[in-house]
Subunit: 343 residues, 2 copies
């Protein structure tokens, strides 16, 4: 593959190349890349949502096994997911990159092709950003704007006693995908002739490397006439997110271990690796599924919606935040989550 | 000074501490830190402006001589400056940080105190962000939103033949401040007993370490009834920015060397260091002054405005982009600018 050094293009040349022919599909985008700011104009009854995420090499991703295109795709998706988690629609992103000389222009084009693909699929415009050289590694900071009608925004603090607790998709799968990638990386390190063994576990890799944001669920809830009372996306693990919702809503919860949706490939790998799959489902991060609560009155409308799982209910705060085990035992939910700052 | 390790607080504890008692002064901010997204609601006739900047340790700043509080202040200001450069008003920022274990909680509080001070002075709300651990050094990515009435936004592409070319403040001063800091750093390295000598050059340091965004000029132009035809802030040097305006507007320019506003402290240091002050004024970055063009008809209204300097005029594209020297010689403007990617 060709390798063009970034220094041959310079900062402006690089930005021109990376942002060449950026499509503009959002009606709210009036001016994208090319001035001091991007300019948007939103409809009268719309609120603007804003979220920012930073991904750092060596902390959030390892380029030994994460292809740059996938990394770009995921970096965009994690932001879209935050917008959907407010019951909104993502509309624009800016992308700031810090890149060391290790990366070629073609590498950055790969990364951008993933961001562009995510934008294309989700109907989001890339409207600006910043590209800087870095002393070390790769840093990606994305900010996403989105819109929502004022009275449709769903916050974390609206859960009420007796509300149903629901999650989408399955839990712990992205975490198991990461364990698999790490295991195979270590095997490969010790042996030049080894090839990684992913057979029958492709879904785990996909969940780790190429997550999707649950736009489909937001759409189906809307069609079903269900307005969640509280909602978050699951980026740090179910326990951690549920404790946020309970804390901010001033309520407790009871979640049933046997109701947690878990994928069978994840179960098989957890067995192989001697990991407790329930712990992984509760605390594994990066699933980007939705966790939401809704009124008990919505039960009938909820049941037919595919890929939504009822895992428990909201209680009074004094009843605590509990996991109910398979034999009825009550355990306090703990946010082990991902703590990147732990030593 | 106390040193609290970040790991003792964890990610959420750290975010709580850094975002404690954040004021909310913008009427458009409906929900700041604490959910998946910040939520804003703007007035009907307002467009939303968005800009992102990333600052990386070792590239954009050197913590040997940049105090963390100043760094935070500057990181916010450079974003505000982009919003003013569109004739807008900054309203909200998100702050994403990547920090290594070298930094303590108190260090980050220092950094945040600078960001908070800038926000307070410019009436901007901090509404979100992301705080991550990093393998190396400090990374700051800020995204700023702002507003402007649709028909008041000033782009880069509106300059017309015979328009006046104006700059604010003075040029090359921040660059000379950086040269001074670098010189004294090298002196200190060789000698434990040396103290840095900044006497009589304090203004240069201030311009490098604590720049301001030119809100005052935007205000005065508005009061005078002047609507610039094109505008940018000067972050990469006058030549580079002027070539952007001419390129995007499809015009040429003539700028007069003897009209460039240059501070006397910068002249003195350039003499000492054997640097060409005109080259520094044309190509030194980080002044965060405004460069704008306006109609010749506005001349009378422009003259009384303090700290605005007329440096030339817009010509037809075929006449080129020229610097007119003190003896009338014509030199093509070149964008040497800051090219962080050059080897």
């Amino acid at each position: 593959m060709d390798r063009t050094e970034i220094s041959t293009l310079g900062e402006f040349g690089l930005i021109r190349r990376l942002t060449d022919k950026l499509p503009q599909t959002q009606p709210s985008t009036r001016k994208g890349v090319g001035d001091d700011c991007a300019v948007m104009q939103y409809a009268r009854d719309e609120c603007v949502l804003m979220t920012s995420d930073m991904l750092l090499e060596g902390i959030h991703f390892n380029l030994e096994y994460v292809p740059l295109k996938h990394l770009g795709y995921k970096a965009a998706i994690v932001n879209f997911s935050d917008i959907y988690a407010m019951n909104g629609t993502p509309t624009q992103i800016t992308v700031s990159l810090g890149v060391s000389k290790r990366f070629s222009v073609e590498d950055l084009e790969e990364l951008y092709s993933g961001i562009r693909l995510a934008c294309e699929r989700y109907g989001v415009d890339m409207v600006g950003g910043d590209t800087c050289s870095s002393m070390t590694g790769l840093t990606i900071a994305i900010t996403c704007l989105g819109t929502a009608k004022t009275d449709e925004i769903v916050y974390r603090n609206g859960a009420k006693q007796n509300d149903l607790i629901c999650v989408t998709g399955n839990l712990g799968t992205a975490y198991m995908g990461l364990q698999l990638l790490e295991r195979e990386r270590l095997v490969m390190q010790g042996n030049d002739h080894a090839t990684p063994d992913f057979e029958g576990k492709e879904y785990l890799l996909e969940r780790q490397l190429k997550p999707e944001a649950r736009r489909d669920i937001i759409q189906r809830l809307r069609e079903a006439g269900i307005r969640p009372t509280a909602m978050m996306d699951i980026s740090d693990g179910l326990s951690s997110e549920l404790l946020h919702i309970c804390g901010q809503s001033g309520v407790g919860c009871a979640v049933y271990e046997d109701k947690l949706p878990i994928d069978y490939q994840a179960v098989v790998l957890a067995e192989e690796m001697n990991l407790n799959i329930v712990t992984c489902a509760l605390n594994g991060g990066e699933d980007y599924e939705l966790l939401f609560t809704c009124s008990l009155d919505d039960y009938e409308k909820l049941v037919p919606i595919e890929d939504v799982y009822l895992i428990g209910h909201i209680t009074r705060a004094e009843q605590g935040t509990l996991l109910i085990g398979r034999n009825g035992e009550e355990l306090p939910l703990k946010a082990q989550g991902f703590n990147a700052f732990q030593s």
